[in-house]
Amino acid sequence: MKEAGVKAWLPSLLRLVLVVLLIAFVTNPGWFEPLLKPLTENNAPAIYNQGSLLTLTLLHLRTVLIATVAATIVAVALAILVTRPAGVEFLPLSRSLVNIGQTFPPVAVLALAVPAVGFGEKPTLIALFLYGLLPIFENALTGLTTLPANVVEAARGAGMTGWQRLVKIELPLSAPIILGGIRLSVVISLATATIGSTVAARTLGEVIIAGLLSNNLAFVLQGGLIVAALAVLIYDGLSAIERYTARRMGQETA
C-alpha cells in the first residue's frame, strides 16, 4: 500500500524537482557555477556570458511556439480539407507528400530557407514550421479517418450539418491523436531550433555552438540540458493532456 503510494508520487515529485531546477538555473545560473566549473579548462567561464540564459530560453520557446501554432493550424486545416467530400481526391496524394516530406532533413530545410528569407529567426521558423507540419498532419489524418463509424452516423442521424459534425464530433474525437502529433512536433522543434543558431537565430543553440567553438564543455552541457529539460517537461505535460482527453472518451492510451 505504502509502496504503491510512493510509486505514484515519484514521477510527479521528479517533475516538480525538474521544474524548480530549470527555473533556478535559467534565472540564477551563478548558483550552479561550482558544478560546471570542473568541465572548463584554462579558467574559462563556466556559465554562458554572452547573453542571458533566461532571455535565450524564452526566445527559444517563442520560436517553437510560433512555429508549432502555425504548423498546427495549417496541418489540421489541410487534414480537414482532404477528409471532406470536396477534397477527398487529394487524400492519397497528400499521404504520399507527407511521406516524401519526412525524408527532408531539418538541416537541409533550414539551409535552403536562408536564400529565400535571409539569416536570423525567419529561416528557423520556416524550417520548424515545415518540419512540424508533418507529424501533426499525419496524426490529424489518422484521427479524422478512423472515427468510429456509428458515432459519426449517429451525429448525421441527429441532424447535424457537416460543419456541426466537424466541430462537435469529429475534431473533439480526434483531439487526443492530434495532440499526440503536436507533442511529437514540439519535441522535434525544440531540438531543431538549436540548429537555427547556425543561421543566427537567437535560441539556446547559441550557447551550445559557443561551447563547441571555444571548446567549452560547460556551455555545451548547459545549453543541451536546458533544451532537454524543456522537452521532457513539455512532452510530459502534453502527454498528460492527451491522456486526460482520451480517458474522458473511454479510449485506451498507449
Binding site: 468510429p148 456509428n150 458515432v151 452516423e153 449517429a154 451525429a155 448525421r156 442521424g157 441527429a158 441532424g159 447535424m160 450539418t161 456541426q164 464530433i169 473533439p172 474525437l173 483531439a175 482527453t245 474522458r248 472518451m249 473511454g250 479510449q251
Partner: protein, 312 residues
C-alpha cells in the same frame, strides 16, 4: 403517417432495396424483419435520408421528405442507431440533449426534458447525467441511445435493432418501456429487428423483407396465419406459430365465466403466459383478476388451445 412509394436503392449494379411500398399509420409501430443483408437498415435510412433513394418517394404526413434539407429533416425524426452510437466525449446528459441543442431549445427546457427521459429510463439524472458513456453498462448505454432519439419529442422514431445487445430480462423491460412511451406520446415507430418474438410482441404491423423486396406487410396475426411465402413461413418458425399467436392476445379476451382454484393471473398478462402457467401447474383452469384485484372469471386450457388454432 409515413407513405413509402416504390422506393428502390441501387449500389452500382446491385439492388439493395427493390421497389418497396408500404404505409405506416400514425401512432402505430411497424416492425421490419428479414435475414441479414436483406436491406432493412437501408430502407430505414432512406426515411431520414441518411441514404438517398435511387427512385421512389417517401412522404411524412403528406410532405415529401425531400422538401427540407436533410439535416433539418433528421432533427425532426428520432433515430436509434444499430449499436447505440453514443458520442464518447460527451456526458450522458449532453448526449441526450443533442437534438434539442441543435434545435435551439433554451437551457432550462433541455434540462427538464433530459431529466424527464432519464427518470423514465430509471437512470438517476444526478448520478448518471454527468457520466461518460463508457462509464455505463451495455444495457444502460442502449437506453441512453433510445432516450437520445426521443429527446426532441419526435413524431417519428426509427429504431435499428435497438435491443440487440440486451439480456432477455432487460430487453423485456426496454420493450415495455418503449410501448409505454409510444402510447403516451403517440409516436409512430419503425423498428428493425431479427427477433420474431419481438416483432410479434411490438408490431401493429410486420414487414418481412427478403433480398431487398417487401414480401409481406400485414398484422402479426395474419403473418402467422397466412404467411405469403415459404420464406415468411420459415422466418416465422412453423413450430412456434400457435404460441406466437397466443402471445398476441391478452388474458382478458379469453376469460370464461366460472371459478377456479389457486393463485389468480392478472387480466393483462398474455394468453401465452396463461397457457404456460396452466400446463406447468397441471391444472385445467386458472382464476383471473382485474387490475384492481377483482375476480373476473377464469381461463381454461381448452379455451386457450382453441385460440391457438389456425384462424379461419
Amino acid at each position: 403517417m409515413i407513405e413509402i412509394e416504390g422506393i428502390t436503392k441501387r449500389y452500382d449494379a446491385t439492388t439493395v432495396v427493390d421497389d418497396v411500398s408500404m404505409l405506416i399509420e400514425p401512432r402505430t409501430i411497424a416492425v421490419i424483419v428479414g435475414t441479414s443483408g436483406s436491406g432493412k437498415t437501408t430502407l430505414l435510412r432512406m426515411i431520414n435520408r441518411l441514404v438517398e433513394p435511387t427512385s421512389g418517394v417517401i412522404r411524412l404526413d403528406g410532405a415529401d421528405n425531400r422538401s427540407l434539407p436533410g439535416y433539418q429533416l433528421r432533427r425532426s425524426i428520432g433515430y436509434a442507431i444499430q449499436g447505440h452510437g453514443l458520442f464518447p466525449h460527451r456526458t450522458v446528459a449532453q448526449n441526450i440533449g443533442t437534438v434539442p441543442v441543435l434545435l435551439g431549445w433554451e437551457a432550462a427546457r433541455i434540462k427538464r426534458r433530459v431529466d424527464e427521459l432519464m427518470t423514465l429510463y430509471q437512470l438517476d439524472p444526478q448520478a448518471f447525467g454527468p457520466r461518460y458513456p463508457h462509464e455505463l453498462s451495455g444495457g444502460q448505454q442502449q437506453r441512453v441511445g433510445v432516450a437520445r432519439a426521443l429527446a426532441a419529442e419526435p413524431n417519428v422514431l426509427l429504431m435499428d435493432e435497438p435491443f440487440g445487445a440486451l439480456d432477455p430480462i432487460i430487453r423485456n423491460k426496454a420493450q415495455e418501456d418503449l410501448l409505454a412511451i409510444q402510447k403516451r406520446f403517440g409516436t409512430t415507430i419503425i423498428l428493425v429487428t431479427h427477433d420474431m418474438e419481438e416483432a410479434v410482441h411490438m408490431g401493429d404491423k410486420i414487414a418481412v423483407m427478403d433480398a431487398g423486396k417487401l414480401v409481406q406487410y400485414a398484422k402479426p396475426a395474419e403473418i402467422l396465419a397466412k404467411p405469403a411465402s415459404a420464406f415468411v413461413e420459415t422466418l416465422v418458425g412453423a413450430s412456434e406459430k400457435p404460441f406466437r399467436l397466443l402471445s398476441l392476445g391478452r388474458v382478458r379476451d379469453a376469460v370464461e365465466t366460472g371459478a377456479a382454484e389457486g393463485e389468480a393471473i392478472p387480466d393483462d398478462a398474455s394468453q401465452r403466459d396463461a397457457l404456460a402457467e396452466l400446463l406447468w401447474s397441471g391444472r385445467p383452469a386458472l382464476p383471473v383478476k382485474g387490475a384492481d384485484g377483482r375476480p373476473l372469471g377464469r381461463v381454461t386450457v381448452d379455451g386457450l388451445v382453441k385460440r391457438a388454432a389456425r384462424p379461419a
